[in-house]
């Protein structure tokens, strides 16, 4: 159990240091506008990437487009999010579609 606790603390400290990295140090180096142009693409790139494995792999294993309830629910949720820009509505509709088709 000691191993578990130490491992958790190590993971927690490493995660914290990554979140702290630029916040801690950015005043020591010049602000380049080109760098901040890159950062504009952080939210769309990362959030989109985090969606991919859950909706294209059935049971986390096989690539599935047909007969994949999560992909259908995700597609409907995408349309809802696009038109209504509302988190609550998107999650509610997405979960209902998932339960409806599976």
């Amino acid at each position: 159990m000691m191993t578990l606790l130490i491992l958790m603390i190590v993971c927690g400290v490493l995660t914290f240091l990554m979140r702290f990295s630029f916040i801690a140090t950015s005043r020591f180096f010049p602000q380049s506008s080109r760098f901040y142009d890159l950062l504009r693409y952080v939210p769309p790139a990362i959030f989109a990437a985090l969606i991919a494995p859950d909706i294209f792999w059935a049971h986390g294993e096989t690539f599935a487009v047909m007969e994949n309830p999560r992909l259908i629910a995700a597609a409907v949720a995408f349309v809802v999010a696009f038109f209504f820009r509302n988190v609550l509505l998107t999650i509610a509709v997405g979960m209902l579609v998932l339960w409806g088709v599976s």
Binding site: D37, A52, D54, G94, W99
Partner: protein
């Protein structure tokens, strides 16, 4: 949602307005986070972690996806160095979040930077960045991130406790973990305002699918890098 920052307000009132602005922007996101926390609580126990460790992890690590991976690997008796490496790479994207919010927190004393870094999760970042970018540059805007972060933090560990307590009463076929994917779908859509941002999202998604076999969850980083570069290249197609 950007709080009104009336110059005639006292600093206290402005701080409060920012804090509650963050809280109320974050609250809808909790609908996706709470079911995920429940699932994590259940999964922690199933993987053989004691209840205290499952709950403690939500406070110590405070990163949903990486905690899921932690308990899965722990359940498979994975070497601790591999677990630490995988959790770290999963959370490496937070370096980019740190870079993106850093310019708005430059003036803050160190203790503020430490607290806000600890609270800088996917959802707190997603809620706060639009306020930083588009809202007024007031001296108290970091209170917005504090409000969003504290809200998410509370929701995350409380839902973990509930997951541990309710345990098997939550059927797996409900697919509650899907709620966090739905959250990210909304966040993706809302983060796209230009063509180049859509290009970044599509490229990142395609890269994630193609590189998923990489060890240590490196696909997240690969997808981020390719998505960002494609977005930059596609900038010329943006309407000005």
């Amino acid at each position: 949602m950007t709080p009104k920052t009336d110059p005639s307000l006292s600093p206290d009132a402005t701080r409060r307005a920012e804090f509650w602005g963050g809280v109320f922007t974050e609250l809808p996101l909790l609908l996706g986070v709470v079911p995920f926390g429940l699932v994590f609580g259940v999964l922690g126990l199933q993987s053989g972690l004691p209840a205290w460790a499952t709950i403690a992890m939500s406070v110590i690590v405070f990163g949903g996806a990486s905690q899921m991976i932690f308990v899965q690997l722990w359940g498979l008796a994975t070497p601790v160095t591999v677990i630490a490496a995988t959790v770290s790479v999963t959370n490496l994207r937070h370096v980019l979040y740190s870079a993106a919010v850093a310019p708005y927190l430059l003036h803050l004393p160190r203790h503020w930077k430490i607290i806000l870094s600890y609270l800088l999760t996917d959802e707190a970042f997603a809620a706060s960045l639009p306020r930083f970018r588009e809202g007024a540059a007031t001296p108290f805007r970091h209170w917005f991130l504090l409000g969003a972060g504290v809200t998410l933090w509370t929701g995350w560990w409380v839902s973990t406790v509930l997951g541990v307590v309710l345990g098997r009463a939550i059927p797996e076929r409900w697919g509650l973990d899907f709620s966090v994917t739905l959250t990210f779908i909304t966040l993706t859509v809302m983060s796209i305002q230009r063509r180049s941002e859509a290009v970044a999202a599509i490229a990142a998604m395609a890269t994630a699918l193609l590189t998923r076999q990489l060890p240590f969850k490196l696909w997240i980083l690969a997808a981020a890098v390719v998505g960002i570069l494609c977005g930059v290249v596609a900038r010329r197609f943006d309407k000005r």
